[in-house]
Amino acid sequence: MSGVRVGNRIIGGQSPVTVGWENVPRVEGGPFKQFFFTWFQPTVLLALVAFWYYAPSSIAKASTAIAIGIGFKILLLLMEWFFPRHESWRLTWKEFITDLFYVGLGYTVLRTVETYIGSDVIIEAVQSSFDWGKLTWFIGLPLLLQAFLISFIFDFGQYWMHRGMHNWYPLWLTHSVHHYITQLNINKGAVGNPVELFLIGLGIGGMFDFLPRAALLAGAIGMAVGTYQHINVRFNTPRWWRFVFNTTEHHSVHHSQDFEASRSNYSSTYIFIDRMFGTCVDGEAELLGMEGGRRMSIREQMTFPFTEGWRAIKERFGRDRLGPMSVPAE
């Protein structure tokens, strides 16, 4: 497999990756279907932004966002069922309940833990120490600009944390298990070790809880873009969207079995952050996962970071510390 040169790297040398938008297939079908799958993503983004911009304060709160998120996911799951991008990514009953288990962990035990040592604690510390007057310059900006800044600053942090997870072994241990997924479906974004899910949760709410509507808008932008990272539906995404935002295609390259391809497209929402730092690869991949596509069970997802970390520590420090093994004289 020869791969394709992108910048200084060869992409697709180990596993097939389609590089270049001109090579990515488009949605087949009649004019209505083409229109629908071209404009679905921008329309949903515009609708969500308009909703949160104009919603009365009585409903502009987190519980509404959660309800919208669940409804949106159900819609996308139906779209996956009727318009799958790849047959090999089709959901089965087993995959559905496995994914839902991780989602359930996030809504239950992870949320409980976070109230003691996670983002909620940070929120309370920030709220009690901040003087409202000092923030006036920010909250006086236009609402959409506030939302964009919140979203961008958060995604900037996410980009570097994700890049760090792919470059620093201790962080990689927590993130590696997520890369064993071999399909991209709506709920597969939740698949992973709880430690990683907890680490991601640390960044989300901590900084911006005191800007309610702008934070909700930023969350809506994140949802209207980020949800498509893990989805088995093909869209004819407009060119401008693909330039600015992360897409399924970008994220499929990131999840590819090709090592170099996986070291690209780190951002969550704004792919232009990857463009800024030279880690963007425009293209798509179908063969995903690690170790040739080996599926990792729930039990191994939970234990792998620790067992693998222990193995690595023993390998690195055990023999070196004790010196070479003594050989009995004959």
């Binding site: 502009a60 009953w93 109230t115 609402l143 599926r295 191994e300």
Partner: protein
């Protein structure tokens, strides 16, 4: 000793004693799926297993065939494996009243997991209820802190012109707003327990039908 008695004792000790039925048999239907599929048109067992062979040549699958019986095991089967939900099983061909039939008995840890996981989520819900009881005392102390003066939040002229609602300062989370229980809600635990209970019912029926359909189609050469 008496030779005939010795012979009887030796025979008795050599004969394997029938095992008492395991109590698990009462419950193993929870994670076992059994059934049978008629072999089409006098198909011999060799040809039947040859047609089913691709199902057992997936990554992570090992199998052994002895005569008219095939046993298999799967470890970490890929998502695209049509029998991924099963971990092990036995298939054998035997003659029935209407001709040869393929009998199968398959075990699925996934089904067992789905059956048991509602208990886990109920446990998380109970944990939250217990934590709410411990949290009540500190919440009362924080409520006594003097509230800061309300600041009028600015709104940009563009937002005002476009008709956006006036900005509101977020209210500090107080127990009344979160519900009578406290800040840890047991509701998600109950919801997910119910979801998985329903999904188990769906899966138990669905997977049973799917495997029967799969084996029927493969035996027919489709």
């Amino acid at each position: 000793m008496n030779a005939p008695v010795n012979a009887m004792l030796e025979t008795a000790s050599a004969r394997p004693r029938p095992k008492a039925p395991s109590p698990l048999r009462l419950f193993d239907w929870i994670w076992h799926i059994s059934g049978k599929v008629p072999l089409p048109g006098g198909q011999p067992s060799d040809e039947a297993f040859a047609r089913l062979a691709p199902l057992f040549e997936e990554p992570g699958t090992s199998y052994r065939r002895t005569g008219a019986t095939l046993t298999f095991q799967k470890k970490d089967p890929v998502a695209q494996d049509k029998m991924a939900v099963f971990d092990r099983g036995v298939l054998h061909v035997e003659e029935g009243p209407a001709g040869a039939e393929l009998h199968y008995r398959l075990a699925s840890r996934t089904l067992l997991f789905c059956f048991l996981v509602p208990l886990l989520f109920l446990g998380f819900a109970q944990l939250n209820i217990a934590l709410n009881k411990f949290d009540t005392a500190p919440a009362e102390e924080t409520a006594k802190k003097p509230k800061k003066e309300d600041v009028v939040l600015p709104q940009h002229p563009i937002d005002k012109a476009l008709g956006a609602p006036a900005p509101e300062k977020p209210k500090k989370k107080d127990p009344a707003e979160e519900g009578e229980g406290g800040r840890h809600s047991p509701t998600p635990g109950y919801v997910f327990a119910a979801i998985f209970a329903v999904l188990y019912g769906v899966g138990r029926v669905l997977e049973s039908r799917l495997i029967n359909k799969l084996l029927t189609r493969r035996l027919a050469g489709l």
